[in-house]
């Protein structure tokens, strides 16, 4: 029965715009969905390779800026007086540029951090995000600095009468869902393969992984590239949805939000970031609609988070799986036990 759960859940998600007509609720689902994609990408690093990237928002922001700038076009003067101009490009192409730019940065970070693990990886990733934010603030000619890039164009696909503009909320919701599904499939394939096992081996026991010939650095870099590109895709979606981007996109609190989603949902599981993302993406918004004072909203948010972390230290999904495993232990002992990848299979 659980086998087709992901498909059934996806079917439910696809149907949402048909019965949820409240535009504000759909807006919340869209932004939550974008954050879930970012959280899924973070989970590939944090959950599977075991490395905490506390600068993850940098990849998100690079995807956002990369896509926005390519779609708007820009003219800058490089050092030495060399002019560089880029004419506005179609949004789908711009989004690809944003994703590739983020992936490339991920590669650079992975290489830079190739010998650093644990706390040092955290520091490298945080510093990197701060540097990127400072660039966005200060390189006014390119980014408009704090004045923000405005009037970012809308994604259009197809030609003539068959053209779809991702302007209305249902269309954008489905776009986010499609990107999220692709990311989910790629991650699930990775983690149940040779590459994913190498990442998990790095997390579980690095010296042992090396002893069987796993080039751990190579797989850490691979994880960083894929993770960064996915975070970049989330940023690109975000920028063409909100249609304005400023350096605040690099705020540390966004990384923290992603980490909370991953850790509470269950790091190292496929479904974890989705469960954590739904809960912690929707709680603040639902509290807001209930017209509760902001301070109280944040207190409730914090209390829920502490309760989850305290009572379910491994996260919600692993706890559910153990509980289910305990229930079935008598009938099918083989199905339980540790697993390399999530419950989603």
């Amino acid at each position: 029965m659980m086998k087709y759960f992901p498909q059934a859940f996806l079917g439910l998600l696809v149907s949402v715009p048909f019965w949820l007509t409240d535009s504000y609720m759909l807006h919340i689902l869209i932004t939550t969905g974008i954050f879930i994609i970012a959280a899924m990408s973070l989970n590939l690093l944090l959950g599977y390779t075991g490395q905490l990237s506390l600068g993850h928002v940098a990849f998100f922001g690079i995807g956002a800026y990369g896509s926005a700038l390519t779609s708007l076009g820009f003219e800058i003067t490089l050092p030495g007086g060399i002019p560089l101009g880029v004419s506005p490009k179609p949004v789908w192409f711009a989004m690809l540029v944003g994703i590739v730019a983020a992936g490339f940065t991920g590669w650079a970070i992975g290489k830079l951090a190739f010998r650093v693990r644990g706390a040092y990886f955290v520091i490298v990733s945080i510093s990197f995000a701060e540097v990127v934010r400072l660039v966005a603030v200060n390189w006014v000619e390119l980014t408009q600095g704090p004045m923000a890039l405005n009037n970012i164009p809308v994604l259009r696909l197809g030609w003539g009468s068959a053209e779809v503009a991702f302007l209305r909320k249902p269309a954008f919701y489905w776009l986010v869902l499609a990107v999220g599904t692709v990311c989910y499939i790629i991650i699930s394939r990775l983690v149940s393969s040779r590459a994913g096992r190498a990442m998990i081996a790095l997390r579980e026991n690095e010296p042992l992984a090396m002893s069987v010939g796993v080039d751990v650095t190579r797989y850490l870099v691979l994880a960083t590239i894929v993770s960064a590109a996915m975070a970049g895709s989330a940023g690109a979606l975000y920028t063409h949805y909100i249609r304005i981007v400023d350096p605040d996109i690099f705020l540390f609190v966004y990384t923290v939000t992603m980490v909370i989603m991953v850790v509470t949902g269950g790091k190292g599981t496929l479904a974890g970031p989705i469960v954590g993302g739904v809960i912690f993406g929707l709680i603040p918004e639902l509290l807001r609609t209930m017209a509760i004072k902001p301070e109280v909203q944040w207190i409730i948010y914090g209390v829920v988070m502490v309760l989850v972390v305290y009572f379910l230290p491994m996260g919600i999904v692993p706890a559910l799986r153990n509980w289910r495993g305990g229930q079935q232990a008598s009938s099918t002992a083989a199905a339980s036990g540790p697993q390399m990848e999530g419950a989603g299979k």
Binding site: I185, I186, R189, L190, S192, S193, R194, A195, R197, A198, I200, A201, E204, N205, P207, L208, A209, M210, S211, V212, G213, V214, D215, V216, L222, V226, A334, G337, P338, Q339, M340
Partner: protein
Amino acid sequence: MTDKSPSLLSVDQMSIRFGGLLAVSSMTFEVREGEVLSLIGPNGAGKTSAFNAITGYLQPSSGDVVYRGRKLNGLSPDAISRLGVVRSFQKTSLFGGLSAFENVLVGLHKRSTQTPLAIMLGLPRVKEDERRLEAAAREVLDFVGILPRAQEPAASLPYGEQRLLEVAIALAADPKLLLLDEPVSGMNPAEKASFVETISRIRERGITVLLVEHDMRTVMGASDRVICLNQGTIIADGTPEAIQRNKDVIKAYLGERSSHARH
């Protein structure tokens, strides 16, 4: 196996220094293709340090390690493993959160042909490769005798079976030269006895074995040749029988015992 067998690994004048401590001093020996060679010696003699230096986990302060005519100095542990020199660890070392089966799957890394792109695209050949690996994993678990435990979490296996799983992981990595660091410590007598037989079956697979072991019954039962190390220096090299009778070896071990008595 005899003196005429070609040398597979040669360690030449290798010294290992930890600050002021000379853990291994100008160590020179050869491992010949097809043999089971044991490296024995009292606690702190430098056996594990020698293993670490051969397999790239630490750099010797001087001297060379040559495997099949190729210098291993300076290579990373994973690169050395890919050349066919695979080691196990003295302290139990597993992927604790994974099942025994998954542990061996990780060990099979080198035998897999999956590339990242093929994996992400979900190509059919990735599935085929996975099925091949799963069959190979079952074969290896069966070889060491813990196939019935395949689905159990590695960390919850009884200690003796954890040690067998470590050997299975190393075997999965397709070694030509297998270095085992005290594989039977923690096993019960019956497990030890059957492990001697496992070593001879490993040899039948065409794998050369370098064994570090304190358990003399295992050493005597499994080895073709024994080297004894004391305080970083090789003091004897010969057949198991000759080593058992060697005065220096006996003295080294007795010395250790009396020093223990003093503590």
